[in-house]
């Protein structure tokens, strides 16, 4: 548990910088299809150790959200989304529980549980995260179609970014 703190801290710094300095500036699809936003920072919440106390999890989600909000100049939007994501995390973990259960001391990564499990886990949680985010960002049911389009487009491209990170960096914990 304790040896997971430092790697997670580095990861936090890396993801925030990446999100702020790179991904936020990227405009995929040009002006004709500007529905694509890239996100990597939710992965930080997905990769937090299984043993993290729930209260800590909520606080970490809030802090990460506020930091990202500071970058995006959107007070509360990412924070509210992250809070919901960390509350959904145990639910999603329970849905995709491996046959022999989760192992203590192992990170929630590809190396521990395989590509298939990790893919399902991250896809569902990321999709939920993006849905909540765009609902709060667009904030009106009048544009339900736009919310859906943005969620799907951003989901696909963010998943690619996350996969690239997981395969290049290959974190154990």
């Amino acid at each position: 548990m304790n040896n997971a703190i430092l790697p997670n801290l580095w990861r936090l710094v890396f993801f925030v910088l990446m999100q702020w300095l790179v991904l936020q500036q990227v405009q995929l699809g040009g002006s004709s299809f500007n529905y694509i936003s890239l996100f990597i920072y939710p992965l930080f919440l997905f990769l937090l150790p299984l043993e993290t106390p729930k209260v800590t999890l909520v606080l970490i989600g809030f802090v990460l959200g506020i930091i990202i909000d500071a970058c995006y100049n959107s007070p509360g939007v990412h924070a509210a989304t992250c809070l919901i994501t960390v509350m959904l995390r145990p639910v999603v973990l329970a849905i995709f529980k491996p046959r022999d259960g989760y192992k203590v001391g192992k990170g929630l990564t590809i190396k521990s549980y395989g590509v298939e499990w990790f893919g399902k886990y991250v896809s569902l949680l990321l999709f939920l995260h993006l849905s909540v985010y765009f609902i709060l960002e667009i904030f009106t049911p009048t544009f339900a179609l736009e919310i859906f389009l943005r969620t799907v487009a951003s989901f696909i491209f963010s998943l690619i970014i996350i996969a690239m990170y997981m395969f290049i960096a290959g974190p154990k914990i």
Partner: protein, 275 residues
């Protein structure tokens, strides 16, 4: 105490989540321009909608009161209309004390009525407390209704026109010939106009109104139109069936007419008759 701590350990994260989430949503709608505009707009729509609905309901609940008010106002207007034709040709000087109008109207609500009996009555919600007296006429917006027969403090009962013993003077508007309205059949849509002498010309479709001889009604109140007219050979009177303009089965608000000069006229006539 220990239980409380255990409870917090167990559900503390949910409490923390709810507090932080509420705080975040507060930030969202207060410090993001678009979200704030949408939020304010939506709450305005919502509060406007609820205000409108409550308004609708309170309007609906006060409908009775409104009806009462409108009926009273209508009575005043009708009173003006009826008395308008009775004004002296030369306006009196304002020095003289203003005369009361000859006919005063007040609105009343029908609380009970019938149309299917040989003698039908109408109960009204005004009584002596509202200066209603016996022998006052009753009309409605469509036409003539009946005559007040008895009164107590709160209610008045009127003989409907659909009563075997109602005799009301009426005339044909076109020719001025007058007769007596009687209800001889038992159809609540029709009455008979009797005592129109045979030399008068009566046509189907002629308008029948109250005559100037009645002490209960002002002249010219609508009664109905001639539906059927017969002159049996050897008879000196027409047999006329009049289709009533008043629908007695759908009476709601009526006007009670107070003729200020009724008593004077009756007294004088009685004096002459007695001689």
């Amino acid at each position: 105490m220990r239980n409380l701590v255990l409870l917090f350990l167990r559900f503390g994260h949910i409490l923390l989540f709810l507090v932080l989430e509420a705080f975040c949503l507060y930030l969202v709608v207060n410090y993001n321009r678009r979200q704030r505009d949408i939020w304010i707009n939506s709450t305005n729509i919502f509060s406007g909608y609820t205000a409108e609905k409550t308004n609708d309901w309170s309007n609906y609940l006060s409908l009775d009161e409104e009806m009462e008010k409108l009926a009273t106002e209508n009575a005043k207007l009708r009173e003006k209309l009826i008395n308008y034709g009775l004004r002296p040709a030369v306006e009196r000087d304002s020095f003289f004390i203003k005369e009361r109008p000859q006919y005063e109207l007040q609105a009343a609500k029908v609380v009970n009525t019938s149309t299917d009996r040989p003698n039908n009555f109408i109960t009204l919600n005004k009584g002596t407390a509202d200066w209603v007296q016996k022998d006052m006429g009753v009309i409605c917006d469509k036409g003539i209704v009946g005559i007040i027969r008895s009164v107590n403090d709160e209610y008045a009962v009127a003989n409907s026109l659909l009563h075997r013993r109602s005799f009301i003077s009426a005339s044909i508007k076109r020719t001025g010939a007058y007769g007596v309205l009687r209800w001889l059949n038992s159809n609540p849509r029709f009455v008979n106009l009797t005592a129109i002498e045979s030399h008068h010309n009566v046509m189907v479709g002629d308008t029948i109104v109250t005559s100037a001889f009645s002490t209960h009604f002002p002249a010219g109140i609508m009664v109905g139109v001639v539906e059927k007219s017969d002159l049996p050979s050897g008879s000196s009177f027409h047999e006329i069936e009049v289709k009533l303009s008043t629908d007695f089965s759908a009476l709601n608000y009526v006007y009670i007419i107070d003729n200020q000069k009724q008593q004077q006229q009756l007294d004088l006539e009685k004096e002459v008759m007695d001689e």
